[in-house]
Subunit: 183 residues, 2 copies
DNA sequence: AGCGAATGAGACGATTGCGTATCACCTGAG
DNA sequence: CTCAGGTGATACGCAATCGTCTCATTCGCT
């Protein structure tokens, strides 16, 4: 009965997303294993969160690769990115709100890499005339993260249908709520 | 030296926004009072969080009143709302992420009231032809909350200038990132 | 100045969760 | 079948934090 490390991380992410103060015991139970086994694979709570962080970074990076942001229009790239990141949305929203990760001096450099890639994408979109230039790439990047997290939350509590996740995020981020004169 | 209850709540909100696991002692120190005094005014951690919740709801409700959402265009109303809510943005972002508040059966009915008012505002905007109808009022409401929280965070960590807070949020929420043909 | 209320500092027990160790059980490979 | 490794259950000590209490001090009001 080899332990499925990734599945443990997934269930931990799902639980911690809902209640970030969950006990190690609860995390173990949620994964269907004993607390002792959980401790054998993750030295402690910190190590568990770090492993989740690594997983989240890795998945987001993979989503960026999958999205091939530079192919076609920026809009198409963004749609592909949101689609690719949807399975990881819950995990990412947990990590973003786990600001404990960002107060130590040992910040995972992966976030900087991701920020740089996303920010550069928005900047290129601006240079190509597809995106407004009065909204900074840094803000668009943060807003994308925020909307992904909000979307994951809204779906989880049932305020938005799961199948609308991508559409709601991309349409709001790209077009906004205002009704255009022509569309 | 009568205790300034509201100031205590403000500093608590500021601290807890940055680190939601802060100790009661840290909360007290941040407010410049002793832990004993903090306990005299708030029976415990729960009571403190509940007081913060009440304060946040009250302030948001006041912001909704101030904004006079029904006067002028929906866009003007939204701008006034974001402006009015800016001072409370940190507190609100803390409360929104404190999902511990929403798992008990004793959910503060204030949130429903607020959701209803904001949601109704977006719905009226749709009916008047100002807002798109393919984005549900519930989603626009959640997105507004999310962007306010993201904006507060971005300003706090220095990724967005404080003076751009309102502009970034309203412009993104209304117009989106896409560059219009005419603008 | 005097007095009552409020505060700060510290101590205390209780609770909680963590990390480790132990032991019995199960499973799969040889 | 045998055995080594992994697992679950349980127990134990430890540290952190909470909530309460006490007591001396300070503040504000008269």
């Amino acid at each position: 009965m080899t332990l499925d490390r990734e599945q443990v991380l997934r269930s931990a992410a799902a639980l911690l997303t809902r209640r970030s103060t969950a006990t190690m015991d609860e995390v173990a139970r949620a994964a269907g294993i004993g607390r002792a086994t959980l401790h054998r694979h993750f030295a402690g709570r910190d190590a568990l969160v770090r492993a989740l962080e690594d997983l989240g970074i890795q998945e987001f990076e993979a989503a960026l690769d999958t999205a091939a942001l530079d192919e076609g229009t920026a809009e198409e790239g963004l749609r592909r990115l949101v689609a690719a990141v949807e399975p990881s949305a819950g995990l990412l929203s947990f990590l973003v709100t786990e600001n404990q990760l960002f107060e130590g001096d040992q910040v995972n450099e992966g976030w900087d890499r991701l920020d740089a890639r996303v920010s550069a994408f928005f900047r290129r979109g601006q240079e190509r005339g597809e995106f407004r230039i009065d909204l900074t790439p840094a803000w668009l990047t943060e807003a994308l993260y925020g909307l992904i997290g909000t979307g994951a939350w809204a779906v989880q509590v049932g305020r938005v249908a799961g199948q609308d996740f991508q559409y709601m995020i991309v349409e709001l981020l790209l077009g906004g709520a205002r009704r255009s004169v022509e569309k």
